[in-house]
């Protein structure tokens, strides 16, 4: 495999899985021209006049959809770790003796460990999406037949629109659907929130199959997925384990060290002048990017300030802001707990968004760059503010990119991370895998101090007179290495064997992930 050095100084292949690749050219430096991919012309006369698209089972649907070797099949991660639909889908494909599938999920979860046997026996050729947990380990050990492709949620939309990924069959698991294929995620025992991640697939795939465990009479409203894009509807007993689809309640971390970071985030946002009437921010679902919300809320109340909108990852903590009138809207990409699902179902100010509205590179703008502050995590951040979210310091793939890359475009991007975990430095001299270029990352907040990107002179000036522990990133990194016992060894990898590539939001290749020895 031929590797070239890209604009970020990382070595990347120019061809992957038989497709030509463009090396990263710099932030906002690549602008493809021409036309977007176009779906085939359909006519309503080919579909049942009574609107009933129900077929007997998934196998029948796949057969009718013309499943064959080498196709691209897409799935979505609304059901998170409770998903059984994807596993059953590939059991069925295996049973139909079809091989070499390109699996195109919006994300994968540990529950998909089930698919390793299909990666081994050639049912699945490779994954383009995310390779989490066991799938990440499998990929990192060089066992996948093809090369993995990691994309952000926005990048996934871009790849579909660019025609880089043509979806043959999209399988959309829907907690509620009618026989026409109108579907949503807010009703039924498997309710998960919005189905935004499946939007592009429903519009661009050749064939679209909706799988539901909650068939309702026409019309199924709201139709987050429009039945007009759907070919077949399959009814099943269950989409998966509801307790793993959304958590009952989301609890904030009790770790005093994480809470300290969360407190610093709120204090920084206040000191930097971000917390003012009509402001906006993006929160996450786990750990610190959730824990800062109560601290921020206290400040908003004390200052008498209200947000115009907040972006989630919604949880009961964002819902409380909405209920208490501290924000006008929740613009929700993904719903993480029952309270979030309930709110999206009942509150018209709790709006489902999709990667198209939020993140898409080929839109006429997107929401990500309108947000005043985004609070995100990372597995590693280096002294040039570059960050990694997909591999751990030992070189193993462990997480997907999610919306992380897209959120870096916010007006103030804050990475909130512990400076080390056990004996694993998080603030390092150079990231193992580059997922986010430092020029888009403004602030690093750790329990050992806050580092502001020297490019952001405005932020440095704004917080100059605060009592916040502002330090240089190098100083924090040096202290971390002292605590951990020196610079860590670099992971042992085979630089000749690329197991996955990391795409930038524009479709160019930002970095390579290598086989771990």
């Amino acid at each position: 495999m031929k590797l070239v050095k890209n604009n970020a100084g990382r070595f990347v292949p120019t061809e992957v899985n038989g497709q030509k690749q463009i090396p990263f050219k710099g932030i906002d430096k690549f602008k493809p021209t021409g036309s977007k991919a176009k779906p085939l012309i359909r006519t309503c006369i080919d579909y049942p006049k009574n609107g009933n698209k129900i077929v007997k089972d998934l196998k029948t649907a796949l057969k009718k959809a013309g499943l064959k070797d080498g196709m691209t099949i897409s799935t979505h991660h609304h059901l998170r770790n409770g998903d059984i639909v994807t596993n059953i889908l590939f059991d069925t494909i295996k049973e139909m003796k079809v091989k070499n599938i390109r699996w195109f999920p919006s994300a994968s979860f540990p529950v998909h460990e089930h698919l390793i046997k299909y990666l081994e026996d050639g049912t699945i050729h490779h994954i383009e999406g995310s390779m989490n947990g066991p799938l990440g380990k499998f990929t990192s050990e060089g066992k996948m037949k093809g090369v993995g492709v990691l994309r952000s949620h926005g990048g996934r939309y871009q790849a579909i629109q660019d025609g880089e990924v043509h979806i043959d069959i999209a399988v959309i698991a829907a907690p509620a659907s009618d026989s026409f294929g109108n579907a949503n995620g807010v009703q039924g025992k498997s309710a998960c929130g919005g189905l935004g991640f499946a939007l592009a697939d429903s519009e661009y795939a050749d064939k679209v199959i909706v799988v539901t465990d909650n068939l309702v009479p026409f019309p199924c409203v709201p139709w987050q997925i429009q039945g007009n894009n759907v070919d077949y509807v399959v009814q099943v007993d269950s989409l998966g384990d509801p307790s793993k689809i959304v958590s009952g309640t989301t609890e904030i971390t009790k770790s005093p060290d994480r809470l300290l970071i969360a407190k610093y985030i709120a204090e920084f946002m206040e000191a930097a002048g971000i917390v003012k009437n009509g402001f906006s921010f993006q929160a996450g679902a786990g750990g610190i990017s959730l824990a800062f919300i109560p601290f921020l809320k206290e400040k908003m109340k004390a200052l008498g300030v209200k947000a115009r909108f907040v972006r989630g990852g919604s949880t009961k903590y964002l819902v409380e802001l909405l209920k208490e009138g501290l924000t006008d809207y929740i613009l929700d990409g993904q719903t993480f707990d029952l309270e979030g699902v309930r709110s999206m179902r009942e509150n018209t100010s709790h709006i489902m968004t999709s990667p198209f509205t939020s993140y898409n590179f080929h839109g006429k703008g997107n929401f990500a760059s309108i947000v005043d502050a985004a609070i995100l995590g990372a597995t590693e951040v280096d002294i040039n503010f570059n960050a990694n979210v997909v591999t751990h310091s030992d070189g193993y793939l462990l997480h997907g990119i999610g919306g992380w890359q897209n959120c870096l475009y916010s007006k103030c991007t804050i990475l909130a991370v512990p400076s080390f975990r056990d004996r694993i430095p998080v603030i390092v001299d150079e990231v193992t895998t580059l997922c986010g270029p430092g020029e888009l990352i403004d602030v690093i907040i750790t329990e050992r101090g806050i580092a502001i990107n020297p490019l952001r002179k405005d932020l440095i000036k704004a917080v100059k007179n605060s009592s916040l522990p502002i330090r240089s990133i190098k100083e924090i990194q040096k202290e971390v290495y002292e605590i951990c016992g020196g610079a860590p060894q670099k992971p042992k990898v085979d630089k000749n064997k690329v197991v996955a590539i990391v795409k930038w939001v524009d479709g160019t290749v930002l970095d390579s992930v290598y086989r771990v020895i």
């Binding site: 060290d257 030992d394 004996r423 694993i424 050992r448 009592s467 020196g486 860590p488 060894q489 042992k492």
Partner: protein
């Protein structure tokens, strides 16, 4: 003839262990050093871990041994402490100590009337709590060798606490160690006195004799090691008899910086339940305050044990302040801010203190021996208290 022990074990293992390790050291007759290392961080620090072990074998002149290490991300100070604890089980009489370099950030000395609003207890055998303890900005941290350490772990904890005092940056917190009850506590001193400890907490004090023994042992060690920084003492009174002897204890040494009380043991001793309101210990706490003030030292309150109840902690701390206490023990970082807030002087107190200090400065400038504010004469202790209040304002 007594069979000689050949195997030493120290540390923790299991799924839930974080930032710690377990070492099994077996001295063998031949075959050189054989290591079996299983570490969560082997990809990052595998070589560093092995090097440390070999260095320690060399230091203790171990030529032939089987060493099994199960590591869950222990920092070097922990690894070294576990290895040495295992080794000293086999060779307790070896007086050599494997000391890591002293962290230069930990060289600062303390003063007798240091601010001691909060002191955070850290169980002496739980290394995972050490590195970040100082970040929560307690006035002091206490590495505890006493009640939070199981009897079987006492020895291992000593090595860990010693190494922590040398290696872990506790930022600007005063470094305290709670030793065991005597006579065990006297042995503990050897492990901490030479390593920049600022204050020794002496549990279950019932007489001035206890203080004398500790002071004497400290002086011996200081002379041996040629140490000059002051090491202060904080006796903890935890019994009815101790309360009766409070003043005797408080005034038994000029190294005593503060007197404090342990209410769990005290209430047990007088045979009552401990309550949040604390009526049952009012006499004892008032006695502590009175004895401390009479001896010219600080009075410090017990811990508040319900870590979830921050409102209760606030009420309890405000009450402690009103009684005359100047500090409170903390068993969780989240308690620190609440305690500091409660001890923060009120606006009224600050205004008054400013006037007093100003009057004092004026009088000094004019060379007057007597300070007066309006028609009132102001005594030296009042000035001192006012200065203290202002120092609290500046000390967030």
């Amino acid at each position: 003839m007594k069979a000689k022990i050949k195997i030493g074990k120290a540390g923790k293992h299991g799924d839930k262990v974080r930032s710690d390790c377990h070492v099994v050291l077996e001295l063998t007759g031949s075959g050189g050093i054989k290591t079996k290392i299983q570490s969560k961080v082997s990809a990052l620090y595998g070589q560093s871990i092995k090097n440390l072990i070999l260095k320690m074998c060399d230091f203790f002149e171990i030529k032939n041994a089987k060493i099994t290490l199960e590591d869950n991300g222990a920092l070097p100070f922990t690894l070294a402490a576990r290895f040495e604890a295992a080794y000293k089980q086999i060779n307790p009489d070896d007086s050599k100590e494997f000391l890591l370099p002293m962290n230069k950030k930990n060289l600062n000395a303390s003063s007798k009337d240091q601010l001691r609003r909060s002191r955070l207890y850290l169980p002496g055998n739980e290394p995972k709590f050490f590195p970040n303890a100082g970040l929560h900005k307690p006035d002091g941290i206490i590495l505890d060798l006493e009640d939070s350490v199981a009897p079987s772990e006492k020895n291992a904890a000593r090595f860990l606490v010693r190494n922590a005092l040398r290696s872990v940056n506790f930022y600007d917190a005063e470094r305290m160690v709670r030793i065991n009850q005597l006579p065990l506590g006297l042995e503990d001193l050897r492990f901490v006195i030479p390593h920049n400890v600022n204050v020794i907490l002496i549990p279950k004090c019932e007489s001035s004799d206890t203080i004398k023994q500790v002071e004497e042992e400290i002086n011996i060690i200081k002379a041996e090691k040629n140490l000059s920084d002051e090491i202060y003492l904080m006796p903890i009174i935890e019994s009815a008899l101790g309360i009766v002897k409070a003043y005797e204890i408080a005034s038994s040494s000029d190294k005593i910086c503060a007197l404090t009380i342990g209410l769990e043991d005290y209430t047990a001793d007088i045979g009552v339940e401990r309550t949040n309101e604390g009526k049952e210990s009012l006499f004892a706490r008032s006695t502590i305050i009175n004895a401390a003030k009479a001896a010219g030292i600080q009075a410090i309150d017990s811990v508040f044990s319900d870590v979830e109840d921050l409102e209760g902690l606030k009420i309890s701390t405000l009450e402690a302040k009103a009684l005359g206490f100047e500090g409170k023990g903390c068993i969780h970082p989240r308690q620190i801010n609440v305690v500091h807030e409660a001890f923060k002087p009120t606006e009224k107190e600050i205004e008054k203190a400013k006037k007093i200090v100003l009057a004092f400065q004026e009088a000094e400038k004019k060379g007057l021996g007597v300070v007066s504010l309006g028609s009132k004469m102001i005594d030296a202790p009042v000035v001192k208290r006012a200065q203290r209040i202002l120092s609290l304002v500046n000390n967030k």
